[in-house]
Amino acid sequence: MAIFALVDCNNFYASCEKLFNPKLANKPVVVLSNNDGCVVARSAEVKALGIPMGVPWFKIEAQARQCGIVAFSSNYALYADMSNRVVEVLSLFSPNLEVYSIDESFLDVSGFGDLNLVEYGMEMRQKVQEWLGLAVCVGIAPTKTLAKLANHCAKKGMAGSDGVCDFTVMSDAQLTQLFSGIDVGEVWGVGRKIAARLQQLGISTVLQLRSADTAMISARFSVVLERTVCELRGVSCLDLAEIVPDKQQIMCSRSFGQYVYSGKELEAIVASYIARAAEKLRTQDSLAGALMVFIRTNPFSPHEPQYQRALTLPLPNATADTRLLVNWGSKIVRQIFRAGYAYQKAGVMLSELRPRVMAQDTLFNNGVDLRRSQQVMATMDMVNQRWGRGTMRTAAEGVTKSWQMKRQRLSPGYTTDWDGLPVVSAV
């Protein structure tokens, strides 16, 4: 029988902020989404204040000040590094691991039969706490869907103890009792819409979904939900997706900190997104065969004139050269830009990726020698790695970046930036 463990970091972003900043101990902390828009993470203290997830910051700013809530912009560099460390620690506990999201991993713990899995879960929890200072909860069950539910129970203290909940050691009667008290919307893959439709059919608890007729579920909903029902019954239908294949597409898109009106500025923005995407492209040692650029206005202000346009350009030569890509990108922007709109977002996508070793040169190579291009790019990556991203860049990206994402409450790169290291006082 397969057994899965889902390990999930508690209040991950907020916990990362607290970890390095002693002034935040016992303080309510929130982390805001891009452009400091909405609350995307809350510390336990904030949850206790009843502030909901996803609420726009401007709506609670006054209340937050009163309650002494400390808000941070999303520090992705910090969270990504801590997330990678968590995964590294967890991989000591199972050779088969799926990184499901930045703060969740599935571990295959099948065939560890001799081990007491509850204790094993405690050990994971303890090690992550000791080594990284982050709290995690562990859910253990025969299917991924159940493991996720067990994790939910562990986190809410509904079952199990000390942040570990193992369904495999619970009796049928205990599980039945437990599932009768959990809302169907808590089940992995059951979104708000599906939950509402299920409720109309009288299915409002996990127990009711578990005993629903699979034929009916598959007919009225989908095979996906039918599979969820099977998983709730303990029949494992979802395997670990372990291997991360090289990306087939590389995307970079962001909304701007403020509206952008000029084509020149859009060109600079697109150039910088391309630079970022091309850097990723080179780290996986690939070349791109096509470049897509899109620009759009803000669909959430419908009173403003709306415009959006995307254009994909097949490249004459597959390339990973930032200079060439930026050049093509500017041409695309000039083609799709229309004056008179307030642009709010742009993005680029590199596709038709292929390994660099398979590259061919062509007769019309734009005067860029393939080997020299690689050398220049390697140098640029090295410089930027050593001195910080964007130290060496194409002139097209411009000097000032007023359009950049608003991150006024950004904490330092405590683990990723030499200038951001947390200082200790010897006093």
Partner: protein, 151 residues
């Protein structure tokens, strides 16, 4: 989104046919040399890596720069960068990074006979005994330090 192969000229560019015949030739990364083989080849060892020297457990290791002179007796100076390993269990006598009442400190840990204190390695700084209401978190154990000289 599928590439706009049909009409790339929309952008005013000339592009070879998408289905033009291709021949992939691998680019060999290694250069071939016909010279005399190096007599040292058999004795080649990997170059020393300072990470290996300073760090035992990379996943649980973090860096903290020092500000102040209270640890000079322990050869920790202003501007040094400390190597802090959270996987080392803090014991009496270890130099630790600790969070005390909202401050990030580096001190020597005193833990004897039920008493806990953070002790400086510089006689002008008094020891800080942890009592009652004070909040102490031993963040990690200092296992090394490094510094770059200004040139």
């Amino acid at each position: 989104m599928s590439p706009d192969r049909q009409n790339p000229s929309k952008v005013g560019l000339f592009v070879p046919l998408a289905d033009a015949p291709k021949l992939f030739i691998p680019l060999s990364p290694a250069k071939v040399s016909a010279g005399f083989p190096s007599p040292a080849a058999d004795y080649q060892d990997k170059r020393l890596d300072i990470n290996e020297y300073l760090i035992r457990n990379p996943v649980s290791t973090f860096f903290f720069p020092v500000q102040g002179d209270s640890m000079e007796g322990a050869e920790i100076f202003d501007g040094d960068i400390l190597v802090v390993d959270r996987s080392v269990k803090a014991r009496h006598g270890h130099i630790v990074v600790a969070f005390v009442d909202g401050e990030r400190l580096v001190k020597r840990l005193y833990h004897r006979a039920g008493r806990v204190a953070l002790v400086a390695a510089n006689s002008i700084y008094p020891a800080l005994e942890i009592m009652g209401e004070m909040e102490l978190t031993i963040w990690g154990v200092v296992i090394g330090k490094f510094k770059r000289m200004s040139l």
